[in-house]
Structure formats: structure tokens, C-alpha cells
Amino acid sequence: MSDSATYERVRQNPKFHELVRKRTRLAVTLSVIVLGAYYGFMMIVAFAPDVLRTPLSQGSTLTVGVPVGAAIIVVSWLLTGLYSHFANGAFEELNKDVVREVLE
């Protein structure tokens, strides 16, 4: 079943291209967000560290850097959830359709 003819039929199936387009767009968008946030944070660390040293409120010891740093971890984890939700949900259904139509 895994011969070239099968793969050729997959390529001719418009749903395959829809799947690849949608999933790739999501993966690339999320990667850009995570890497952008992280490298943006690192650039602030290198060039404008005082921003992160600002106290959260008047007289508090906690600084802006603490919630920002924690947010990078928490948000990028939530994004893995978002990706899995779509890739394992709607996209997986689309994938199943492709496989079913091609292997029929």
C-alpha cells in the first residue's frame, strides 16, 4: 500500500493539499510566535535589562521580569495545546479522509 502509485493518488487529492497548507500555516505561525517571544525576551535581556528590573508595583520586590519569564513558559506550553487540538482534531479528520479516499 505504500508504493508510489498510492502516493501519487494522494498528491492528486485536493484535500491533501488543503491539509498540508492549513497544518503548515499553523505550525509556522506558532513557531514564529514562540521563537519571536523568546528571542525578543533575550534581546531585552541583552540590550534593555532595566525594563525587566522594574518593580511590579510601588514597593514590591517582584519585578516585571518574573511574570514575563513565567509567561513565556506557560504561553508556549498553551500553544502546544492549541497545535495538538487542531492537528489531532480537525486536521486529523482531514488526514483520515485523505487516507480513506486514496486507499479505497
Binding site: 500500500m1 494522494v10 513557531s31 514562540v34 541583552a46 517582584l62 518574573v66 502546544t80
Partner: protein, 579 residues
């Protein structure tokens, strides 16, 4: 029962090393980071453990460790009855669920080094340690978005399966397998030396006894229980580490009325750097180092053979995605807990004379710079908790070396023996016999090298391991999945370019050129080669592939289309659970 684990240093044969190690600890945090680079599992080299002095035998820790060993041996016995085929042996028959695999991946990543190393960085530098912790984390979402499903859909047992999918089986597979074995061997040395030092420190066992014990258990897990046992050992350890870390975190927060603000205020008033620990310090003022470090971490992790093989243990791409979702959740949570532990230790451990040499607060920590979290366990939970955490640290090392041995054995038996030497004509029974023999050989090799390297500073091996993984293995792996134009020639030349440049950069950097070879100043000014060697490897791979106009190259490029469909849809993917 109630005896101190960490006693004042004994004068003995290891005293000069201990002194050298102490110096290494104080040198710079970046050395600690080099050691930490091992990210996953690594235990820092002995230098970073900060002391190799043998401690009095710790009974609590040893009893708890024996309970762990007994239960994992039980699991191995159970797993051995389920390990019948090669697929069972290499990938647990593809029968691991996403959740279980997520725990196992998290276990591979949450090592003794992350618990001890990251918490001690936060203890020493505050916010800078937090920045490193974040850097250790961000690779995981990227692995999910860009790699996880393709890895699962294209791979069968090893990373070489993917790299050689449409390229020359003999050449590319041999190179990929050699790349895996190099990483496995270096990593094994680091782990073995770290194991010996840590166990000596925490349990009071002889270095050689500790190393042999680790080697024997590792071989038993792998040869009898294969991937099933290796995965479950990793899962149990991950649960213990998460549970223990969380409990310690709750105990620590309770000391501050569960207020992060008062925890931070106490830390600031106890730390000699005062409020400066609440913002970025000087560690990362240089963006080149920061970028090089994080590239090495992110992509080195993504090309470690024992992490990659975890993607083949789940039945399909859907479960592979779930694995990374769960793994990132556990890792992110654990890392945040570790930062809280480090901050709490600043005021709880950092002001308590019982944890300092000679009772001098602000002097040298007993047992070395990596010990704050262990002292915190003692301060908050007494000897029982300290014993528990020591046992978990030992279990961590065991779980990681087992994964390494299995990854090495599969490279030898599946790639080199079955595919290259026997050209795919070996029977499954023959292949399994070779893989068991290979894990035995790796066990013996690990013990011998571990003992040989006892007195060496192995921190440079850590940089080398990650440099090679990110520069020699990752570009080939990534381009084979993403770039149609990759050819055998390009993959080989690019891989060699990455290998040579990574090794050269590490040798000319401070960790080897100055620390090992004794020169005054490093020729390569950065500690981490990835930014340079990985870029170079990509460039060479792409240029050589483009210049390759041979017929074979054309055929290889033509095969990309089919590979691409399989990578995206999973049609034709090895589905081990259906065997």
C-alpha cells in the same frame, strides 16, 4: 538514621580533584551552563558537582534506592515476557500511549542536572538562572510544531532510518549511526562520571562501586526489558521527581505564607547581591553567547538519539503530538518549581550555618555549589526527605543511562549490523542477539570509561555532545525531512563539516583550550559552538547538494515527493502496534 549526609570534606586521594572542582564551581556560571547544556539528563561533570569527597553511608537514601531498584527489576521481569520481537525491543512495540510517552520524555529531560544545576543557578544568580531555565524550555514547542509528526511518520527504530530514507543506505546510515554512537558514548561518560561523583557524595558509596552498580543495572534493564522496561523506569522516575519536587516546592512556599512576594523579599534581603537578583545580571550581556547557547540547546536536544527514539514508541503521529504536549507541560511546570526552590533556598539555606563549610554563612556550601536543593530538602523535610531526593537523583541517572544504552544498541544492531553489514538480510533473532550483545558491550565500555575518567574534568564533553548533536546530526535530519534538494553527497559533507567544526570550536574554546590544555586564553571566544558550527554544517550541506548533478542525486531528489506524502499523512509509516 539521623546522620548528616554532607559532612566536612575528608582528606584523601581525591582531595586535589575536589579542590580543583571547587575552583571550577566558582569560575564562572557559564561553565556550569556548559555542563548544564546536557540539558536533558546530564549530570554536570565532577567539576560542577563541586566536590568528590566521599560521605558517610546514608542509610535512608540507600533503603529508598533499593525499593526503587527492586520495583524496576520487577518491571524488567514483566517487560522481558512482553519483549519478543525487534519492534518490542526497540520501540516497546509502538504500544506506549501519548501520556506515558510524555512522562518518559519529560523524565529524559528532567535530570539530576536540571534539578541540581538549574536550582543552584537560581540560588547563585537569581533572575539569570531563571533566564537559563526558560532557554532550556523553548525547544519543546518547536519540536512539536516542526518535527514530531514527521519523525513519527518516517522513522522506524532509529534516527538513521529517517536520515537515510531516500539517500544512500550504506553511506548515510553508517554516518548517522556513527553520529548517534559518538553522542551516546560521550554522553555516557559524562553520566557515568557524574553518577560516580554524585553517588559518592549522597550515598557514601565508593566511586567504582557506584559506577559498576549503574553499569550492571543499566545492562539488566536494557537486555532483558528493552524499550518497555526502559520507558517504565523513566516514567516511574519522572513521577517521583515531579512528586518530590512539587512537595518540596509546597513546603518551601509554606515558609513564606504561600506568597511569592514575601519569598522574593526574603531572598533579596538574604542574598549578597540584594535587589540585583530580581533582574537580568551580567551573565547574558553578550547576545552572541546567548543565541549560540540556545541554538545548541534547542536543536541539540532535538537530535539526541535517546530523545528521538521516544517518538517511535507511540502508535501514530497523533500520539506523538500528545506526547510532546504532555512532556512540555510537565517540563514547564517542573522548571518553574525548580526556580521557586532556588529562590527559597537563598533565604532558607543561604542563611543557615549548618549548610556551610565550617559553619561560615556565605562561604562554601557543603558538598559544593550544586547542593542547594539537597540542603533545602534537609532543612524542610529532614533526613527522610533528603534520603528520598538522593534516591530519586540516583534513579534519574539510571533511567537516563538506560535510554542511552538502548539508543546505542539500536544504532549498532539495527543500523550497522542489520542494514549495513547484512544488507537487511539478518533475521530478527540475529538482530536482537546483536543488540543485546551491543548493550552489554556499551555497559562494560561505560564502566571502564567512567572509571578511567574519574579524575578528569568532563565538562568539555558536555559541550562536545551537544555541539555534535546540533551540528552533525540535526542539519542532516532536518534537511532530509524538509528539503527536496538534499543528496547523499551533501548530507555526508555537511555532516562531516558540522562534526569537524563543532569539535574544533570546543577544543579551541575555554573549556578545553584553557581548562584542559592549560593555555592562557581561548582561541574561540565563545563557550558554545552551535551558532557557528551548525550554520556552517547547513551551508556545506546545501552548497554540496546543489552542486551535485549526478544521476543518483536526481533519483534521490525525485524520491522526496513520496517521502513528503508519507511524512504528512503517515501512509506507509511503520506501525509497530500492528505487527
Amino acid at each position: 538514621m539521623s546522620r548528616m549526609i554532607i559532612a566536612p570534606r575528608r582528606v584523601g586521594a581525591s582531595a586535589p580533584l575536589a579542590a580543583a572542582s571547587m575552583a571550577a564551581v566558582g569560575r564562572t556560571a557559564s561553565l556550569a551552563v556548559a555542563a548544564l547544556l546536557v540539558a536533558a539528563p546530564a549530570l554536570a561533570g565532577p567539576g560542577d558537582l563541586g566536590g568528590s569527597e566521599k560521605q558517610p553511608v546514608n542509610l535512608t537514601a540507600i533503603i529508598m534506592f533499593f525499593v526503587f531498584v527492586a520495583s524496576t527489576l520487577g518491571i524488567t521481569w514483566w517487560a522481558s515476557k512482553r519483549t519478543k520481537s525487534a519492534s518490542d525491543f526497540y520501540t516497546a512495540g509502538g504500544g506506549i500511549t501519548g501520556f506515558q510517552n510524555g512522562l518518559a520524555i519529560a523524565g529524559d529531560y528532567m535530570s539530576a542536572a536540571t534539578l541540581l544545576g538549574l536550582s543552584s543557578m537560581v540560588f547563585a544568580t537569581g533572575f539569570d538562572g531563571f533566564i537559563y531555565t526558560i532557554s532550556f524550555f523553548v525547544g519543546w514547542p518547536i519540536i512539536l510544531f516542526l518535527l514530531a509528526e514527521r519523525l513519527r511518520n518516517l522513522g522506524k527504530y532509529t534516527f538513521a532510518d529517517i536520515a537515510s530514507y531516500r539517500l544512500d543506505q550504506t553511506k548515510v546510515r553508517t554516518f548517522a549511526a556513527m553520529g548517534s554512537l559518538t553522542v551516546v558514548c560521550f554522553y555516557l561518560i559524562v553520566q557515568m562520571v557524574g553518577a560516580g561523583q554524585l553517588i559518592k557524595l549522597l550515598f557514601g558509596l565508593d566511586y567504582a562501586v557506584a559506577v559498576i552498580l549503574v553499569g550492571v543495572l543499566m545492562v539488566v534493564y536494557v537486555t532483558f526489558g528493552g524499550m518497555i522496561a526502559t520507558t517504565w523506569v523513566q516514567i516511574i522516575k519522572a513521577v517521583l521527581l515531579l512528586g518530590g519536587g512539587t512537595l518540596l516546592g509546597v513546603l518551601a512556599l509554606s515558609k513564606f505564607g504561600f506568597s511569592l512576594e514575601s519569598l522574593a523579599a526574603k531572598a533579596v534581603s538574604s542574598h549578597k547581591a540584594g535587589t540585583r537578583i530580581m533582574g537580568p545580571g551580567t551573565l547574558l550581556a553578550d547576545p552572541v553567547s546567548a543565541v549560540s547557547l540556545s541554538l545548541g540547546l534547542v536543536f541539540g536536544t532535538a537530535a539526541l538519539p535517546h530523545i528521538l527514539m521516544r517518538f517511535f514508541t507511540v502508535p501514530n503521529a497523533k500520539e506523538a503530538r500528545k506526547s510532546v504536549f504532555y512532556a512540555s507541560g510537565f517540563i514547564g511546570f517542573f522548571f518553574l518549581v525548580v526556580c521557586v526552590l532556588g529562590m527559597a533556598a537563598i533565604s532558607i539555606v543561604g542563611t543557615d550555618p549548618q549548610f556551610f563549610e565550617g559553619g561560615k554563612v556565605g562561604g562554601k556550601l557543603l558538598g559544593g555549589g550544586n547542593m542547594p536543593v539537597m540542603h533545602l530538602a534537609k532543612a524542610l523535610g529532614g533526613d527522610i526527605f533528603l534520603g528520598f531526593l538522593s534516591a530519586v537523583a540516583f534513579a534519574t541517572i539510571l533511567a537516563v543511562v538506560s535510554g542511552l544504552a538502548l539508543a546505542g544498541a539500536s544504532a549498532i544492531a539495527h543500523d550497522i549490523y542489520a542494514r549495513v553489514i547484512r544488507k537487511g538480510h539478518a533475521t530478527e533473532a540475529e538482530e536482537m542477539r546483536v543488540s543485546k550483545l551491543a548493550s552489554l558491550v556499551l555497559g562494560v565500555l561505560g564502566v571502564v570509561l567512567g572509571i578511567m575518567f574519574e579524575k578528569q574534568n568532563v565538562a568539555f564533553l558536555v559541550g562536545l555532545t551537544f555541539g555534535i548533536a546540533a551540528s552533525a546530526n540535526f542539519p542532516v535530519l532536518f534537511l532530509s525531512m524538509y528539503w527536496k534538494g538534499l543528496t547523499t553527497k551533501g548530507a555526508l559533507w555537511g555532516g562531516i563539516a558540522g562534526l569537524v567544526s563543532a569539535v574544533t570550536c570546543v577544543v579551541l574554546s575555554k573549556t578545553v583550550w584553557v581548562a584542559v590544555l592549560g593555555n592562557a586564553a581561548p582561541i574561540f571566544p565563545y563557550e558554545h559552538p552551535a551558532l557557528f558550527s551548525m550554520t556552517f554544517a547547513f551551508l556545506v550541506t546545501i552548497v554540496v547538494s546543489r552542486l551535485d548533478g549526478s544521476e543518483t542525486a536526481k533519483a534521490e531528489k525525485a524520491l522526496f515527493e513520496d517521502q513528503y506524502v508519507r511524512a504528512q499523512t503517515g501512509i506507509g509509516a511503520a506501525n509497530a502496534s500492528n505487527h
